[in-house]
Symmetry: C2
Subunit: 396 residues, 2 copies
């Protein structure tokens, strides 16, 4: 598992008391096109502010990524800013590149200062061990409360050249005192301009990560970063190549997002909430998201309870005009609601059949609004006892 | 406990399998000024549609209220509309008034047809038993999964005349297959025009019920209805009277809203989320609401865990611009965050002192944004194991 032109390393910097890997490095042989989607939270952590500024300064290029886990460097004031800068400069020095070409990310405890001396001391030795087949170590070193590393890859043909996409993600799982940070890193040897990469990245995140809802909270540190080094030497100016790359990136993101959700705290079911027959994609997306975020729907998923009233009620809270008498609802392929009322014509007890569908680890709930042609999907999961236990019973 | 000019009755119509009271009637001796705030859900139940239309038709007057519990008459299609109309007509006939003067409300199971014949048969005999001291029975008959009746009253002097406000509320508690319906009814002998009553009611609901969040879902049936009969004979055109009445109505609503939240499923803590130092009241309200709705904050409240990172993170998700370095946070009166970072100067361990505050059934969390002068408060509660048990383990 490698991606031509990229090398990886991981180390134990002593941030995690467990002694597990907590420092991850990635480097491209050359300045790579880079695009990122950062958290919209108004308390962005110091590394998010640093990475956003570097990307603007470099004009969408990056060559190195330095990540620590175990401490989010969030809500840490001026000291946090200086610490993020020190991580960047140390790795830039090791790679002999400009600091503007280094992206930095952190995840873990919020509000505590980084053990920056230990991190600083660990970076150069780890950089000396960067190697092409180090990606699984990189993927492990970014984890916090995750059950395990989550890696996906894709191979795509771009005008006769074969390119690889390699991605890893960590933790919608949240456990006090850690925050809900989602970090995702993708490297590829595809050749693509920074502008096209930015567009493809935003669309991929919108269609995948932005539809995930484990509990509606976004973190101070959320980062989705893509580096495209260009070693595949495809033609970056051929629109067909850009489209093929964008499709592959979205597929990769979808696989990572599903793996992330399935790994969430106390998650036993990952459910596609499909809304179709909407007047606009925006309407469909808002309704799918409202259903996926509803605590009552999420507890119904946990209880394998085909409580269609909760689903319609959540849809009705999305702020989108609806014609109740046009609505149809399916759990799996079991029709539950037709023309806005309980479907009693399906044969047998639709509730029993829907309950059986809901025992599966993944299935779909489909709401047809009977209005237009637009559709959208959001991923939902269950709200279970385990979620409450992890988040309430654990004390900071 | 009575309110001059109003009479009440309750009955067992057999909607609830338990045989408990499930039909509630109220009548004013004369057409009363009436104002209501109904659910914004896009799947409003048949009684909500009927009551909204009647209020528009009558020009803000009502003389009777008929409520059933045990069945929400929601998502019931054309039959539901006819059933709500039949309840209205039967009570209007019993009172010998126009159907436009009857407000109707339902709460309970969603998606099942009303046992309308039984309800229809029970209305006239109950109407024959309307009496001045029947309010506590009325308050009991509107309940579903509530632990008990929630009643509040106020006495207010309006230009030398004394007026009474008498209110009851039911159930943010939700248990499958019942929905999250909140019903509130207030009667008063104050004299006030329909237009002034409408304004006072909307402001009272905005300041109280609309800040409640148990789980962010609003129901198909939510209704807050006020009838003002005028028997107190105060001057309805004196602005001082209107202001005094509006204050009393808001106080009454606040008391009822707090009682409602404390009675919610698995609720052990009711917390005032106070946001101050905001640029605008709208900003303050959005941030207070974002904190109050955050599942991570709610599990922290359940766990008595002063996890200030979660609170700031939730504030950062409200879509309001913030200066992190200006923010202060208090749990009770314990300073936790100053200038956006953990306050280490408070003496002792602020975490321990905050944990002690969080053992109380009610307390305040105060976030000072350090920007402007505006403030707002939202009520939050805990997300506990009991909530998940009730909503997941119970099967429809």
């Amino acid at each position: 598992m490698h991606c031509p032109g990229f090398r990886f390393a991981a180390a134990r910097a002593g941030i995690k008391e467990s002694g597990a890997l907590d420092l991850a490095l990635a480097a491209s042989d050359r300045p790579a096109s880079a695009a990122a989607v950062f958290t919209q939270n108004r308390f962005p952590a110091a590394p998010v502010r640093a990475s956003r500024a570097a990307l603007a300064e470099s004009g969408g290029l990056a060559q190195g990524i330095v990540v620590n886990s175990g401490n989010a460097n969030a809500c840490t004031g001026a000291r946090g800013t200086a610490d993020a800068d020190r991580m960047v400069r140390r790795f830039a020095t090791a790679l002999e590149i400009s600091p503007d070409l280094v992206q930095v990310a952190s995840t873990g405890v919020i509000g505590a200062p980084l053990p920056i001396d230990a991190i600083d001391a660990a970076i150069a030795p780890a950089a000396a061990r960067l190697r092409e087949d180090g990606f699984s170590e990189f993927a492990e070193a970014i984890l916090t409360t995750d059950r395990g590393a989550k890696i996906a890859s894709r191979s795509v043909e771009l005008g006769g050249e074969r390119a690889t996409l390699l991605g890893c993600t960590k933790g919608a799982g949240m456990i006090a005192p850690n925050m809900a940070t989602t970090l995702t890193f993708v490297v590829t040897d595809a050749a693509i301009t920074p502008a096209e990469l930015d567009g493809a990245t935003r669309r991929a995140v919108d269609a995948t990560y932005n539809t995930i809802t484990i509990d509606g909270d976004t973190s101070t540190n959320d980062t989705f970063l893509v580096l495209a080094g260009g070693a595949a030497e495809n033609d970056p100016d051929d629109p067909a190549n850009t489209r093929a790359f964008a499709r592959a990136l979205e597929e990769l993101s979808d696989e990572l997002a599903r793996a992330l959700m399935a790994d969430g705290e106390g998650v036993n079911h990952v459910v596609d909430i499909r809304v179709r027959g909407a007047d606009s994609e925006d309407d469909a997306r808002r309704i799918a998201s409202a259903i996926a975020r509803s605590p009552l729907v999420k507890t119904a998923i946990a209880g394998r309870d085909p409580n269609w009233g909760r689903i319609l009620c959540a849809a009705g809270n999305a702020g989108v005009a609806l014609r109740p008498e046009a609505v149809e609802l399916y759990i799996g392929d079991v029709p539950i609601v037709r023309e806005g009322v309980a479907d009693r014509d399906g044969g047998g007890d639709p509730g029993d059949r829907a309950s059986a569908v809901m025992t599966a680890p993944s299935y779909a709930i489909t709401l047809d609004l009977g209005a237009g042609e637009a559709s959208a999907t959001a991923l939902a999961c269950d709200l279970s006892h385990e979620y409450v236990s992890i988040n309430a019973d654990y004390r900071t």
